[in-house]
């Protein structure tokens, strides 16, 4: 019969219309901003810089290696490397970003900077209410505005942050074990050298230094104070 299909469609619409009064899960509208839908844990908006401890400047993990600046697809990261080194959170002297700006009006939230960072220093925030009436300066975030504590990172991405912390702890343990072994070997060598004054005791420490530059700097970043000697 002509009109059958239309009636069938109407019935479907009616079923949906009345169904929405019955089924609670179909009422998906929330009254923003009083009510909010919780964001997904993996959600990403704009990057921030992680710091350890309480002082953002002292605890900043970033060592200004500029890999993220190079890899950033829309080129929205601007880094000036420091000329001097200053002790990081654990006391190891490191370069630090004298300037670290992200222009979030250009950033496309792709997370490539997070992936390429060897130091777990840059992560994605979930904060999205960033509207401002200052079109230029207000959307160019400097390193102070970008820094967030590791605790904040744990609060927004608990699973990922736990993994990162475990990885860093593992690196640290590895470095400590290596340093300890090297120290023991050096002590043994020194003891041996004391009995046989001719034997050179240098070989082990040079072997330690000959790791890949990336790995070397990674261990630098996580090495505890005084652990390297």
């Amino acid at each position: 019969m002509l009109g059958d299909g239309i009636l069938k469609g109407m019935a479907e619409t009616a079923r949906n219309f009345f169904g929405s009064y019955v089924s609670k899960e179909r009422l998906t509208t929330v009254e923003y901003p009083e009510q909010r839908i919780p964001t997904a844990e993996n959600a990403r908006v704009f990057p921030f810089l992680v710091y350890d401890g309480t002082d953002w400047e002292a605890g900043m993990r970033c060592v200004a290696c500029q890999i993220c600046e190079k890899e950033c697809p829309p080129k929205c990261i601007y880094i000036d490397k420091s000329t001097d080194k200053k002790p990081d959170y654990v006391g190891k002297p490191q370069f630090y970003p004298a300037r670290f700006d992200i222009d979030i009006s250009v950033c496309m939230s792709c997370q490539i900077c997070v992936e390429v960072c060897p130091f777990e220093a840059i992560k994605m925030d979930t904060q999205f209410e960033l509207a401002t009436d200052d079109r230029f300066g207000g959307l160019l975030y400097d390193r102070k505005e970008l820094s967030r504590s590791n605790e904040y990172y744990h609060a927004i991405h608990p699973t990922e942050a736990a993994e990162v912390d475990a990885r860093l702890a593992e690196e640290k343990a590895k470095v400590e074990a290596k340093a300890k072994a090297a120290a023991e070997a050096a002590a043994a060598k020194a003891a041996a050298a004391a009995t046989q004054p001719a034997a050179p005791a240098k070989a082990d420490s040079s072997g330690l230094a000959a790791t890949a530059p990336e790995a070397a700097s990674l261990t630098d970043a996580t090495k505890p104070a005084g652990g390297g000697s």
């Binding site: 009109g3 299909g5 239309i6 619409t13 959600a43 890899e71 697809p73 792709c110 490539i112 992936e115």
Partner: protein, 390 residues
């Protein structure tokens, strides 16, 4: 006449759109449909010459959204182009990711772990379902059913996008696949949520069909409209649901068997007439087949790594050479052609955009129809301007 000559002659006839003589007297009415026409899915223009209501000439005009994606990619590292591929066909960022990753994997001979292949298939098929659902929604919207079917489609798309967001961190710009695997692993809760959504999909397709498939208005406006003959479709490089609606059995998932598609049982729906209704029906049936693939892939997903051990993120420099990789994206054959000169950036990076090439025969399909049907025929091609203009 030999078979070859016969075929050549037939194809020769399709080389140009037919010339239609105006029936009435007087001048033709030139209409610029677009770039701000509500039916053009963005910024696209059709310069139409009308004889009364009848279309006698139609020239598509592109480029309003052109940003020279290929040039940008030549100045960026291989990895840095991955988020830009999201922005080609922004409805299907995951299949774009896959096509690009596949081309690069071909270029360097990179293997992909099994778990990552399963994740890719699951995400690609979810993408296909939501793309087909919303493309049908848009098609019906252009027919004048303003909103209702589109909202039904978006209701389901919303659930799938929520899955994408909880896995990749973004709803549309997923930037998820990497050369040699995927970025983050799927969790148990995510798989459970996906199973729940997939379990609800057949009911959604049934509901969508009850709403539309036998609707007399839809049938009256779609059947016999915008017919695309199979020879022309093949010769003009048309791909995807458009090609299959014309009755050509060509699905790259079956032909190339890329990834792990040879492990799944699914059928390739084909149309008989090549009209708009066939395209609509092929999309509906493809959604059903995609659900079948999802139902097979979800229980059998193996454990293991998601990135190949040899895959490199930093310092990725392929050896000199070239590769063309293609996949069956929801809109058609999406291919990436890459030439490496050994440097960190591709020497040449080319996207084969299915949306652009499917528009080659737009004029052929529209000629002789009323101007109101042009909107419908154009809608049935299913394009995204981000990919057409690149």
């Amino acid at each position: 006449m030999s078979v070859a000559e016969d075929k050549a002659e037939r194809v020769e006839g399709w080389n140009r759109p037919p010339v239609i003589e105006p029936e009435g007297e007087g001048e033709l009415l030139e209409v610029a449909m677009g770039p701000h026409h509500p039916s053009t899915h963005g910024v696209f223009r059709m310069d139409v010459a009308l004889d009364g209501e009848r279309v006698v000439r139609l020239k598509p005009v592109f480029g309003y959204l052109h940003r020279n994606h290929e040039k940008i990619a030549e100045g960026a590292s291989y990895l840095a182009s991955m988020p830009y591929t999201d922005r080609l066909d922004y409805f299907c960022s995951l299949t774009n990711n896959w096509a690009y990753a596949l081309a690069v994997e071909k270029l360097v001979g990179q293997a992909v772990p099994e778990r990552a292949e399963y994740i890719r298939v699951i995400l690609a098929e979810l993408t296909r379902v939501q793309n087909h659902a919303s493309s049908i929604g848009f098609l019906i919207q252009e027919m004048g059913a303003s909103g209702t079917p589109l909202m039904y489609a978006f209701k389901e798309r919303e659930k799938i996008l929520d899955l994408f967001e909880s896995l990749t961190g973004s709803r549309m710009m997923c930037n998820y696949m990497r050369f040699g695997g995927c970025r983050v692993d799927v969790s148990g809760p995510w798989l459970d949520a996906t199973r729940k959504v997939v379990a609800g999909l057949p009911a959604f397709v049934d509901e969508f069909e009850a709403l539309l498939s036998t609707n007399e208005i839809l049938m009256a406006r779609c059947q016999g409209m915008g017919i695309l003959p199979p020879e022309l479709a093949v010769n003009a490089g048309v791909s995807g649901p458009m090609l299959r609606a014309a009755g050509v059995n060509y699905d790259i998932r079956k032909v190339d068997r890329y990834g792990i598609y040879d492990r799944f049982q699914f059928r390739v729906p084909l149309g008989d007439h090549g009209d708009i209704y066939d395209r609509y029906m092929v999309r509906i049936l493809e959604m059903r087949e995609s659900i079948k693939i999802l139902e097979q892939a979800l229980p059998t997903i193996p454990t293991g790594p998601i990135m190949d051990a040899k895959a490199k993120i930093r310092g990725f420099r392929p050896k000199p050479g070239e590769a063309y990789g293609r996949i069956e994206a929801p809109k058609g054959e999406l291919g990436f052609y890459l030439i490496s000169d050994g440097g960190p950036n591709p020497y040449r990076y080319r996207v084969r955009p299915p949306s652009l090439i499917n528009l080659t025969i737009l004029e052929d399909m529209c000629l002789g129809h009323n101007v109101a049907d042009v909107v419908l025929i154009f809608g049935s091609v299913d394009i995204v301007l981000g990919e057409v203009d690149r």
